[in-house]
Symmetry: D2
Subunit: 356 residues, 4 copies
Amino acid sequence: MERLLPTVDTSEDKKFLLQLGCVTMLLHDLGHGPFSHVSEKAFGIEHEDMTANLLDYPEIAGILEKHSLPISRMKNILTGTNPPQDALISQFVSSQLDCDRIDYLLRDAYFAGVGFGNIDLPRIVRMFKVHKENGPWKGLAVSLNKGHYTLESYILSRHLMYQDVYYHKATRGAELLVRKAIKRAADIADSSTLPELLHFLAEGREPTVDEMLRLDDHELFSILAKWSKSNDQILSDLSTRFIDRKLLKTIELSHPKLSAWISEDIGPKVNQLAERNGFNPEYYCPVDSHSDTPYEPYTPGEEQSVTTSIFLYDEERKIKEISAVSDVVNALSKTKYNDRLYVPAKIFSEAKDLFA
Amino acid sequence: MERLLPTVDTSEDKKFLLQLGCVTMLLHDLGHGPFSHVSEKAFGIEHEDMTANLLDYPEIAGILEKHSLPISRMKNILTGTNPPQDALISQFVSSQLDCDRIDYLLRDAYFAGVGFGNIDLPRIVRMFKVHKENGPWKGLAVSLNKGHYTLESYILSRHLMYQDVYYHKATRGAELLVRKAIKRAADIADSSTLPELLHFLAEGREPTVDEMLRLDDHELFSILAKWSKSNDQILSDLSTRFIDRKLLKTIELSHPKLSAWISEDIGPKVNQLAERNGFNPEYYCPVDSHSDTPYEPYTPGEEQSVTTSIFLYDEERKIKEISAVSDVVNALSKTKYNDRLYVPAKIFSEAKDLFA
Amino acid sequence: MERLLPTVDTSEDKKFLLQLGCVTMLLHDLGHGPFSHVSEKAFGIEHEDMTANLLDYPEIAGILEKHSLPISRMKNILTGTNPPQDALISQFVSSQLDCDRIDYLLRDAYFAGVGFGNIDLPRIVRMFKVHKENGPWKGLAVSLNKGHYTLESYILSRHLMYQDVYYHKATRGAELLVRKAIKRAADIADSSTLPELLHFLAEGREPTVDEMLRLDDHELFSILAKWSKSNDQILSDLSTRFIDRKLLKTIELSHPKLSAWISEDIGPKVNQLAERNGFNPEYYCPVDSHSDTPYEPYTPGEEQSVTTSIFLYDEERKIKEISAVSDVVNALSKTKYNDRLYVPAKIFSEAKDLFA
Amino acid sequence: MERLLPTVDTSEDKKFLLQLGCVTMLLHDLGHGPFSHVSEKAFGIEHEDMTANLLDYPEIAGILEKHSLPISRMKNILTGTNPPQDALISQFVSSQLDCDRIDYLLRDAYFAGVGFGNIDLPRIVRMFKVHKENGPWKGLAVSLNKGHYTLESYILSRHLMYQDVYYHKATRGAELLVRKAIKRAADIADSSTLPELLHFLAEGREPTVDEMLRLDDHELFSILAKWSKSNDQILSDLSTRFIDRKLLKTIELSHPKLSAWISEDIGPKVNQLAERNGFNPEYYCPVDSHSDTPYEPYTPGEEQSVTTSIFLYDEERKIKEISAVSDVVNALSKTKYNDRLYVPAKIFSEAKDLFA
């Protein structure tokens, strides 16, 4: 951004725009709760809303105001409802090649120790230029054609991280146990079980900003440790399974199996099997569905799509969208659905036979 | 191979097979001449033939015989004409996931300093098992389904190395100058110009093994340095351009342009333009065509295809070919053609206008 | 170890010895409490004792017994009280080049993102041979002289990690706040403040194994979060400072200053200054002393020193200790003392002036 | 330099100074001949002189003049004879922490594949500040104390590269063969043997700039290949040994052995042994002596020493030289001498016995 902003045609002060962009990028993930997406689903919140709430939080708002950073403008950028003059910053904050994706890929590949998150960020950055000509791309960052292969590699990296790390059956299995434990605690809503910080679950409301700030990963781990000693058999078992990594086992519901599950009453049969073995299927036999579109191609006419898609110059410096010129990116433009049935190890083999 | 061989069902000694495989892999690229594929084309040879010739070379044959390594069997493996019992070794020596590809990708990515050659070799290796059941895959290495994404990443890496490194316009442009200089020296076949080591060019024969062994990169560099002082204007200019990196300039012949080149007499017009400016088009206006199929899918019925393709177990340990289960690999199964017209910088702009 | 054990002269089964060594190495750090050395000091325990206790813990002892692994022999290796025939395993478990040091250096350098922890472990390992001749080194691993420089680099790496990471003033400052908070909670021993898991502090006893197992990092973070809302002003302040990273500030007590501190009554003056400003010096003005000897040279005659020091073959395969042949290692054989006075930022400048 | 120059107190244009510094750094190694230090010794030249000559070479001087870069000022910086106002640039071009050392360490460690060349360059650079106060350090770069450990690591890295890579017995042994082959060719000075490019050897003069420019590594390799077919037995054998990596063998002349060599007539005995076996000792029994001082401490009073040594601020921002505060650097301030006798393998064992 430091390299591109000076080439933009605007009457605003460049230093101010740079600060606005950097601070928005810095704060964009502020609203994540414990275990990230786990708490979003379990608490019924969206981290983007929480981020927006936090910008108004006195401690943060005070600093932003001191530096004359307009909070409502930042919120618009964060939610993609910004006016055209902030389109370039919006590209950096929230697009298919934004600071968020680059940040989590580099970080998670490093800490997960997998080779394929290895993005050549300096080269990606160097290849971008601000488009000067009039039309929908005016003022946006477009990559030189030379950046083509580095971008292909980036999009595949993200795809591989989703399939092999974020959606790994063990990762998702551990997350499911936490979500089901929280659900159980909320369902029984026993005041001795539900710690003060989670009372909002019993009260059927969203957590306040203060509650969210106190609810970090450590707190949730500590709560789960306490629950593992609970008198409620289900709560205690789910928490203990999480702590001891005794995950539920997975049956991949590929297309024919998913239809069978839906149309041939296999679902109820699995539930009966679980109940016969003393497992409440509501907690012990979840179907985990998730999907990812590694790259969403540009939809002409949809305004936001101009900002969020990735464009290249061709040889004559005409603009082409990357999925239109790359077979690989085109192949990665399909949504990939994953559905898995989780069941306790004890009934795994019998449950599998139901699909035979 | 050390891990897989012990699980193979064979009456032969495993230690001998391991040695046979390792030595064949070690020697498979022995026949490369100076500047690799440049000399192959310029000298009209194939490095695979030269490798086979070198196995019979006394110094090497002597060592192989001392260790009871059967030269003809090694040659069969190297040319893919081996009997079925050597299919596993053949997979390692010459397939779409062989020691050659893995070796050059890791090495060239390291020395070119590009991130995307980063193959997770240990994981690829760990995922392979020898297939035990009868049928065409018996005795071959098949990857567990878990290796899926690492293999996708490997195939994309190879694709990116071809497009961004091996077929880079500067790499190919430098190679072209060397080839054209050698062609020029052979065409004028002047005994004062053609060093003894290249007499075979004037004699219209292939180089002998001894000549090839002496013709290393340094020798060719030294010859080019000498040629840069030649009295032949063309030979001197081509060699000087190579040494000073004054490459020819490229016009990408994408599909419509290539048809125009062929059907609308643009070729002859470029040649006339070159001649008017004192450039012999035979040496100065080459079209460089190359193509790569990142992954050749399995063709049922074709015997060799069983050995050279990459197969995975699915969840039920049935065998599936990788392009059948991966959209990315499927997209990478198309042949990618690149055609470029090279011309001297002096006539570049005018040549480009001919396509307008 | 896998490479060296087969060359050892022993009547015991090599596979058993390998398993014994590997399991002992795997378990050697089992007894670490929350925040590692912080809890050791705050709880008055030693992690080595806790590791020994854990080997008798039913869940672990059961597994060891099932595999016929002798617990008392493992304990002797862990405490360095093993008989000579276990000296080689003892070298790997507990010496100046043991699995512990190599493990923490590689891991901490990776996660701290510093370059100098980069040990060439494969080369270090490859250079070691088992000494065959009679005498004190018989059966021990000695490095070929070629490994000399890699070992110099390893010893310097460890030194740099201690000085720049483990003893960094911010690292130590954060640890101090936790220790002082725990001390405060123990001092006031208020049952509403001291969570059940820390009752042992009030009871003046060591924690039980069960308590230690439950007291993980998350639990301690959660306790500190609770303490930050405590009615006790000091406890609340220390915990809040830790959570908000408002560390105490440091005054390095280099040699002249340390003597001044001791001999010229600067200590009491700092305490008075603190008290005048409302800080209890017992919690707010600690002197943090630590020392490290990057390499302890061999002391002839001391039996254990043969196992814990690092030896090299010289050119004639005579044994030399590394500090005797390397000026660098010799320089690193001095104990390095660090003493720092920590004070609240508010009185930092005035406290500093006391030393002027 | 880009970061430090703006903080310097000077009346000259900062952009000009930056360009002057960068171009001087870029060109500082221009004068290296084939195989670097091998050709310096064999041809009797110094690469620094050759670099100075090349700055006057029309092709280069033309470019420098076009950009108003003063050649004589650059030469003064390159030879350390610059006036005080260029001291900062001189530090970057030629000191104990200059672009040359950092360049070769990073490059050679990467290509040699050794871990210990791993310098944390960004951190080293970030720690330097320009000293503002009057006195000998005014205008020079001094490191913050925080950079201390990174600098220790850098100095050790350089030491290890010298001992384990640059002075490795195989590296030096191969270089010796080349030097002795060139010496032999000069000694026999046979016009059919000495290629035109090396005629200067027979003429007893230094090579001209033109000759040096044409004498690259490839040319020397090619000459050695030709010599390996020479009729002169010694020239042919030395060249063949180099090409086939049949190096001479080494006897380390540690202190007692070196004295024995000198005082007890072992030298003449080795020579007699060689002659009896048909080896001319002038070419086949060289003693290779080299030495390195990993870090030369500051000598107060010696003006240049202020620029070439490495200084740190201490806590009170007083300046201390690094060897005065670091035991490790102090240990690395001793000159390390290495002397090796090389002899043909055939007489190695007998030669070794002479020292017994």
